[in-house]
């Protein structure tokens, strides 16, 4: 019977409590629940975004896409288009949402062309915020953007003003991973120079791109070395391909040129493999965590502060807000200042009183 078996097991493994099976339980439950991931791709048209997404997930999301002509793009506005697919691998289900941003940077006047994108991200946060604060939280759908791949053109000498502005507008709302697109037009030396230049400019302009988490100190050396290489390789120089070619006797995804064949999955040709491993195989969950714990929490805190300020101003009108107002546990900056001022005043007045009392006392004597 089960109980007998359990007793025997216990007898054998007296010091074994058994919570080491927790990871297995987590694994089992998560497989049952399934995963979801929202990936945004942004960059000018013709940078190979769709090709890269197809290469990453080994599928064809963009079968019937219609591209605009140059004259249609002169005054184009940025749209947000979502593609959602359900893919499964070894029993693990992933609901993958790709958020496309066609029209970004394509018009002649691109002032604030990132606004629709930031608005979209904020909307998803707001939606989640409402759902989270609602009464029935059983079926919350998480549409928040977990990661944004930004494609930098390889034709220039570094970041352009539109790249800088875009990343600065988004770096506190979403995890940004900058990529060098179409890297097959750069020789290895040129790639290195460009990567150094871009890293320098990212520092210079104070852009906060997604940082890989530090390794635990108890990881083995090989892992640490890999991790270090990964970090020094950013921004990744990627190439994508929708076609399969024959190279070195194998059929691989690649691009066929008269002078050679570029293999997408060849690490000496480009960083595609590193990107895929990082994005899908090791850091997907960390991206989700950072989105939830950092970006979303920032948004939520800001939101609540604004609301309470609004409500205080409108307290006469008895605003009905759909989200319950929670009492602030810590006073905000303005109230604190006021409190401090009043304290000081009181102190001063106290001192004066004492002085006067002393004087009177002296006089009497």
């Amino acid at each position: 019977t089960k109980w007998e078996f359990w007793e025997i097991k216990q007898a054998f493994e007296k010091q074994y409590v058994g919570f080491a099976t927790l990871p297995n339980q987590v694994h089992r439950k998560s497989v049952k629940k399934g995963f979801d991931f929202t990936l945004m791709v942004a960059g000018e048209s013709g940078m190979g975004k769709s090709t890269l997404v197809n290469s990453l997930f080994l599928t064809d999301l963009y079968k019937d896409r219609k591209l605009l002509n140059a004259e249609e793009r002169i005054n184009q506005t940025v749209e947000i288009i979502k593609h959602t697919v359900d893919i499964e691998e070894k029993g693990v289900k992933l609901k993958l949402t790709i958020v496309d941003t066609p029209g970004f940077g394509d018009a002649v006047n691109n002032n604030e062309c990132w606004k629709p994108i930031t608005d979209y991200i904020d909307q998803q946060f707001e939606q989640y915020f409402r759902d989270e604060s609602g009464l029935n939280r059983k079926n919350i759908q998480d549409n928040r953007v977990h990661c944004c791949l930004y494609f930098i053109p390889p034709f220039g000498h570094g970041l352009r003003p539109v790249d800088v502005e875009f990343m600065k507008a988004l770096h506190e709302k979403v995890n940004i991973i900058p990529l060098i697109a179409k890297a097959d037009c750069l020789t290895p030396n040129e790639i290195k120079k460009l990567k150094d230049r871009i890293r320098e400019e990212i520092d210079k302009f104070g852009i906060k791109v997604y940082q890989f988490p530090e390794c635990d100190s108890d990881e083995d050396e090989e892992f640490k070395q890999l991790d270090k290489e990964l970090k020094e390789c950013t921004p990744f120089a990627v190439i994508g391909s929708n076609t399969v070619v024959e190279a070195r006797g194998q059929r691989v995804r690649g691009r066929l040129y008269p002078w050679g064949i570029v293999e997408v999955e060849n690490q000496s040709h480009c960083d595609f493999v590193k990107l895929r491993n990082m994005l899908i195989r090791s850091h997907m969950h960390d991206l989700k965590d950072v989105t939830c714990d950092v970006h979303y929490e920032n948004y939520r805190a800001q939101c609540i502060q604004e609301m309470t300020r609004y409500v205080r101003n409108e307290s006469d009108n008895r605003m009905e807000s759909p989200i319950p107002i929670l009492p602030l546990s810590t006073p905000d900056v303005d109230t604190e200042k006021l409190i401090k001022m009043k304290d000081e005043e009181l102190k001063r007045m106290q001192e004066m009183l004492n002085k006067m009392q002393q004087q009177m006392h002296d006089k009497e004597q």
């Binding site: 002169i74 002649v108 050679g260």
Partner: protein, 484 residues
């Protein structure tokens, strides 16, 4: 043999080129020698030297400088441009090159900052302005009275190489807008830059898409001429390869046992001069080896003439007047001059009038102000007079009182000396008086204090003033019958 000299009575003066003149072909009896005319022309132009101006339009980093270096097999000095320029500006650089005995004055104009701004609506303007300025300079030289066109350094742009980014989809919106603004002013050859990132099949589709977009938007690019049989075939075939997909490189890579200009990748070597790798050779052939002279000619005969015509029409010149009689430039010029002078005179009058008006205005203002000041002065004077009078009055009043005081004082003294018995009575009176006075004293003491304030001022010294005060006060209380 007929004489070819025009007889005035036969044909009419001036020699008319219209009418029934027949051109006849004659055969020569021997070798005359005017078949050396082309050689004469050539040797003249070789001695003169040639001049060629190229404008490179494209985003920062797209490979303009590298392509120029590759085309002319020279390292033109060039610093890397930054992406953060405020606007587009043009940077012309002139070089003197020589190949065998042919000298070329080459000017390469770079567009710095093109495509980097977030708002690119005005990006085409500096380019159009530059081209127009070169035309304008030439026009000015042409219109001069004493001109030296043969010596003139022609800076007009003969060819604009437009660098298209290899996106593989189509033209960018900026490309379309810019090329539309330039196509009537300069010969445009569009080229696809950094073409080693496009595979052969993609390239074919890309080229077709670009050409169709240019055609559907009415952009006129330069067509290699097909009227001359010697080059028409090659030119026609090249026209079909537009836009040229080029790769530039100044570095050499060993391929086989030769060192060729190429780009070395982990997956292969892209050779610049290999026609199956890119269209660089075609571009060089067309641009430099075959059609350079035609480009110069087109610039002068078509683009410059168009500019000149527009400019002169703007200035008011016409070829025919309303009656369709040919206009003489001279007459037009005279008329223009008169008009211009008339304009000048009018303007001068206007300005003078304005000046006079302004002066009048200012004068009037100043007069007003003067008047105001005068009034104020009068007013203040009056006030001062009044005050003075008041003070004088008061003083007179006080003096009277003082005299009265003194008199009474003297009277009281003599009285007290002569009538000591009346003291009690006086006392009584005094007390009554005091009462009276104390009843009245409030106001009178005030008066007194007022007086005391005034009187001591007339004393010569401080202790005298005190005395005055004291004596006044004392006198007042001690005087029977009170004061005032």
């Amino acid at each position: 043999m007929q004489s070819f000299v025009a007889q005035p009575d036969e044909i009419g003066w001036p020699y008319s080129s219209q009418g029934n003149e027949e051109k006849r072909n004659l055969s020569l009896g021997g070798h005359v020698g005017f078949d050396s005319l082309p050689e004469q022309l050539v040797s003249k132009s070789v001695t003169q030297g040639f001049c060629f101006n190229i404008l490179c339009v494209g985003e920062t980093g797209i490979g303009k400088s590298t392509l120029m270096n590759t085309l002319f097999n020279t390292m033109f000095e060039n610093e890397e441009a930054s992406h953060y320029q405020n606007g587009v500006y043009l940077r012309p650089r002139t070089y003197d090159l020589q190949e065998t005995n042919v000298r070329l004055k080459l000017t390469i104009v770079d567009t710095v900052g093109f495509g980097d701004q977030i708002n690119k609506e005005d990006s085409y303007k500096p380019i159009v302005d530059y081209i127009d300025t070169q035309f304008e300079n030439y026009l000015q030289e042409e219109l001069k009275i004493k001109r030296s066109l043969f010596n003139y350094h022609d800076t007009r742009i003969h060819i604009c190489l437009y660098f298209i980014a290899p996106t593989g989809h189509s033209l960018k919106s900026l490309d379309l807008v810019t090329m539309k603004k330039l196509d009537s002013k300069v010969n445009i050859i569009p080229i696809i830059a950094k073409a080693d990132t496009i595979s052969k099949s993609e390239l074919h589709k890309f080229k077709i898409k670009i050409m169709s977009e240019l055609v559907s938007n009415g952009v006129q690019i330069y067509q290699f001429p097909t009227d001359d049989e010697t080059v028409s075939e090659i030119n026609a075939s090249m026209n079909a390869h537009l836009p040229f997909a080029v790769v530039g490189s100044v570095e050499e890579v060993k391929v086989g046992n030769k060192a060729v200009r190429a780009r070395q990748y982990p997956w292969g070597v892209v050779q610049v001069e290999n026609e199956s790798h890119c269209d660089f050779v075609k571009l060089r052939e067309m641009l430099i080896r075959v059609n350079m002279e035609d480009l110069r000619e087109q610039t002068h005969a078509r683009h410059y003439e168009l500019y000149r015509r527009c400019k002169l029409e703007e200035m008011g010149f016409k070829d025919t007047d309303p009656d369709s009689e040919p206009f003489s430039l001279q007459e037009t010029y005279e008329a223009k001059r008169k008009e211009f002078l008339g304009d000048l005179q009018r303007k001068e009058e206007e300005m003078r009038q304005m000046f006079v008006n302004k002066v009048k205005e200012t004068e009037a203002e100043l007069k007003d102000k003067e008047r105001e000041l005068h009034e104020k002065f009068e007013q203040l004077k009056r006030m001062h007079q009044e005050e003075k009078k008041k003070v004088e009055d008061k003083r007179g009043y006080l003096e009277e009182e003082m005299n009265a005081f003194n008199k009474r004082k003297a009277a009281a003294e003599t009285l007290s000396l002569s009538q000591p018995v009346k003291k009690d009575k006086d006392k009584k009176n005094r007390s009554v008086n005091m009462e009276n006075q104390s009843g009245v004293s409030a106001s009178s003491s005030k008066v007194m204090m007022a007086k005391a304030n005034v009187e001591p001022l007339n004393c010569q010294s401080w202790w005298q003033a005190i005395q005055c005060c004291t004596c006044l006060v004392h006198n007042a209380t001690w005087r029977p019958g009170g004061l005032f």
